[in-house]
Amino acid sequence: MNRRGTDKIISVYWFAILFIVAAAVVYMVVVFYGTPYDVREAEASAMINQIADCITENNVLNANVNNDNFLEECHINLGKEERYYVEVRDLGVAKGNVNLNDFCDKEGNKLPKCVERKLYLLGGDIVEIKVVVNNVK
């Protein structure tokens, strides 16, 4: 009689353990497959390369590029979603969603990604390019 009682308790524990294991497996799978591929850093790097190509001419700063014609000269389309913020201080360029800039000193997977690069030019000029990319809504 006692043995049967013990068996029942063991089977309850067994199912409790099974549920805990299943919950852990489900949680890990959902986290793994639910996390999107994060390509924002690669995107920001590609944009910085494109900006670097267009704001320089023969390895010196192209003075013809300014805040008004920056997007046309660099062939950049920031889209309607306001996912990007671009800043080139030396040229006075600041385009896109300026609110994203506030997240640059914060860290988190769901926060916008901030990438900054320095461009070393002939004559000792150093140009800082900053690109912030947000997630797709």
Binding site: V29, Y33, Y37, A46, M47, N49, H75, N77, Y84, V136
Partner: protein, 129 residues
């Protein structure tokens, strides 16, 4: 005595069957997640968007889409698998699916869509807009 033995046997069988049912549900869940098409759509959409972001006029791109084509055929999807419109790449492999990702590079392409009739998606970057 016989009844007691039969009871123990029934309890054990129920216990084993419940365990098997439980494990089967878990395995089915894992397989359904692993073969989730939206994951593939996202992968291809972002891959194409990143290629376009880095592309320059004159470049010719050949992308192996065999994985996506195979899924589209399984799902009997014969419409556009890739559609590039207004700086947004959309990859769709079944009727209720679809994933879109934008790209910033303002380029004109010679081909803006891909049907699942061949394994390779070929396009050329013609010029900047």
């Amino acid at each position: 005595m016989k009844n007691k033995k039969a009871n123990i046997l029934t309890e054990n069988i129920i216990f084993i069957v419940l365990n098997l049912v439980f494990l089967t549900i878990l395995i089915l869940f894992l397989f359904s997640k692993a073969s989730d098409v939206s994951f593939v759509e996202e992968k291809y959409a972002k891959q194409i968007a990143l290629m376009l972001d880095s592309a320059k006029p004159g470049m010719e791109v050949v992308l192996n889409m065999s994985g996506a084509v195979e899924i589209a055929k399984k799902k009997k999807w014969e419409e556009k698998v890739v559609d590039i419109k207004d700086n947004v790449v959309t990859v769709k492999l079944h009727e209720k699916g679809g994933y879109s990702y934008p790209f910033f590079n303002d380029v004109d392409l010679d081909v803006l869509y891909f049907y699942p009739t061949q394994d390779e998606f070929k396009f050329k970057v013609v010029k900047y807009k």
